[in-house]
């Protein structure tokens, strides 16, 4: 057998995938590895730590970092590391779910607007441009105001705040692609609009949109933390990274570690997401397509 034949099987497929090739670089490996670590830490939080995230032990409050509590304890004597691990569950899942929903809606809207054009396109773009011109935090604050503080409010706020970005990106991709010869050929063969959209156009703009979604997840984590910091995110006792810093901000003198470590966690996670997204962009060679917006 010659070596040029593509190997089949799951392992070979994984090795050829973009994510794997991105992980194989130094930058992508470090960033991806860190993200994997955070996700695993969130999933296996109950196994990894002997403490509970919401049981108060006031005699144990304000312990500086030590062997028993590597990141110290907070004002109620709860282990900070434990709360960070459990907080990752809230912060990561809220951000990822919100961005996923936003992606689905944004792609649908953007693809339809870009493909059909005309009055529908103009209507969508008026609304999209309106939200686009406002900072995400303002849009999110308005939405949290209606729905109320908590996980649901944060979820919807993040969804809507990033909808404009995904709609614009998908729209511009679809508009660029719809005049390609193969689309015309498909139409000539009698393919329906839905078939062309779902079979040809959407798969082709998936790359840039998904990477944009990943990069937006980093921003969403910050947005979620900011809302949490304002006391508008997940409500206590549910731990979230932003919420931990909210209660910690008044205790800067007594226990700086209470805000230091959750913040560090947010910062490192966001930076890792951006680095990994950057490597993906380079590997997929779509940096220019992302700039279209």
């Amino acid at each position: 057998m010659s070596g040029t034949v593509h190997k089949t099987g799951i392992l070979a497929t994984i090795r050829r995938s973009v994510a794997w090739r991105a992980l194989a670089t130094i930058k992508g490996g470090v960033a991806g590895g860190f993200l994997l670590l955070v996700v695993l830490g969130a999933i296996f939080a109950p196994v990894l730590t002997p403490y509970d995230y919401d049981i108060q032990a006031l005699t144990n409050a304000f312990q500086p970092p030590s062997l028993a509590h590597p990141m110290g304890t907070d004002e109620f004597g709860r282990d900070v590391l434990t709360r960070i691990l459990y907080g990752a569950r809230t912060s990561l899942s809220v951000s990822v779910v919100a961005i996923s929903i936003s992606l689905v809606f944004g792609m649908t809207l953007g693809a339809a607007a870009g493909y059909f054009g005309g009055r529908f396109d103009r209507m969508v773009m008026v609304v999209v441009d309106l939200t686009w011109s406002f900072p995400e935090i303002l849009v999110a604050l308005m939405l949290v105001a209606i729905i109320g503080p908590g996980v649901t409010g944060t979820l919807v706020a993040i969804c809507v705040a990033y909808l404009a970005q995904f709609t614009r990106l998908t729209r511009s991709q679809v508009m660029a692609l719809k005049t390609e010869t193969y689309v015309e050929a498909a139409r000539g063969l009698g393919a329906s609009h839905a078939f062309i959209l779902f079979r040809h156009l959407l798969p082709n703009c998936l790359g840039p949109v998904l990477v944009a979604g990943m990069l937006a997840t980093g921003d969403a984590i910050i947005l979620e933390a900011t809302l949490g910091f304002f006391g508008l995110g997940a409500q206590p006792p549910t731990p979230s990274w932003g919420g931990m810093m909210s209660s910690g901000s008044g205790l800067l003198f007594k226990g700086p570690w209470i805000i230091l470590f959750p913040g560090l966690c947010i910062a490192l996670t966001v930076v890792a997401i951006n680095l990994f997204g950057d490597v993906l962009l380079a590997k997929l060679d779509i940096r220019d397509r992302l700039r279209v917006v």
Binding site: S133, L138, M245, I259, V270
Partner: protein, 308 residues
């Protein structure tokens, strides 16, 4: 150009009303009842009704909107339900703090961004370029409220150089301005760097080199001046972003600005104040975008036709 200016300004009117309707209807779906906060324990339903009527909360929504809009246009923003003062007064008190902070942060991030961008472009590809650009990019990825808290920790708590919070004197402005400004440096630096690298390849720069002008003079006097055009245009567009940052940073540093007012009122369910502060923030963003568009059109005639 005049036609463009008029068209562009007229475009603001429907946007303004759209935003005001959105803000109004959103706020009226707010959970929590502000009247609840005013009532003492054990007050009668009659007292409750009287209060509801006093603030007009029992009328149809359309009527409430028209009333509100009419008042807003005449400068009357209503009375704060919880804080029991005219909203216009509260906003007027808060606005200068936010404007000072935002303005200084904009200046700071611009100056720093242009300097970093110039240095990076002048030593393009070197470790200095990569280090500086990587550094500002890293700074822009961090949550700004965390940077703010870290700065308080280092400069106020440990070193005691600046006040922890509040708004007394210029010292209290240093950390907030640094916090917002550092986050905004990356974009300005990137735009400056790209524009300068672009300009460095132009013929007139080659000519200057051939004439034997000192490279530093060329960079600062000629290339930078040429490259500043795109930087100026993104500046005005950054106003909204700066205001967004100011909201967070004001809360961190307990500065009595518009952001603090908004968050406080949100937590107190004080409708009129939330409406007014959101509307004013939104207006500031719209004016910023307007200024950016006008600047761009003034410098590049091609943009004037984009609005027909």
């Amino acid at each position: 150009m005049l036609g463009y200016v008029i068209r562009r300004i007229l475009m603001l009117v429907p946007v303004f009303f759209a935003v005001s309707v959105v803000i109004f209807s959103m706020i009226h779906m707010l959970p929590g009842d502000p009247i609840e906060n005013l009532l003492r324990v054990g007050s009668s339903p009659a007292q409750r009704e009287a209060l509801t009527a006093k603030y007009g909360l029992d009328r149809p929504l359309v009527e409430q909107y028209l009333l509100w809009m009419g008042n807003v246009l005449t400068g009357d923003l209503g009375t704060a339900i919880v804080q029991r003062r005219p909203v216009a007064q509260l906003v007027a008190q808060a606005l200068p703090y936010s404007l000072t902070l935002g303005g200084l942060a904009l200046c700071f991030s611009t100056v720093l961004g242009v300097v970093v961008g110039t240095i990076a472009a002048s030593w393009r590809g070197s470790w200095l370029d990569q280090g500086l650009m990587g550094g500002v990019l890293f700074g822009s990825m961090l949550p700004n409220f965390w940077i703010g808290l870290l700065m308080i920790l280092v400069f106020s708590v440990s070193l005691g150089w600046t006040p922890v919070s509040g708004a007394r004197g210029w010292e209290s402005l240093v950390l907030p301005v640094l916090t917002i400004g550092l986050g905004g440096t990356a974009l300005v630096a990137r735009v400056t760097r790209i524009a300068m690298i672009d300009t460095q390849g132009k013929d007139f720069v080659l000519l200057l080199h051939a004439k034997g002008v000192h490279p530093l003079t060329i960079q600062v006097r000629h290339v930078l001046r040429h490259a500043l055009i795109p930087v100026v245009t993104i500046l005005a567009l950054r106003i909204g972003w700066i205001l967004g940052g100011a909201v967070t940073v004001e809360v961190v540093f307990a500065r009595p600005g518009l952001g603090s007012l908004l968050i406080k009122s949100l937590n107190q369910h004080d409708y009129p104040v939330v409406q007014a502060s959101l509307l004013i923030l939104a207006m500031a963003v719209m004016l910023g975008t307007l200024m950016g568009d006008l600047l761009q059109a003034a410098m590049d005639p091609r943009f004037r036709d984009s609005l027909t």
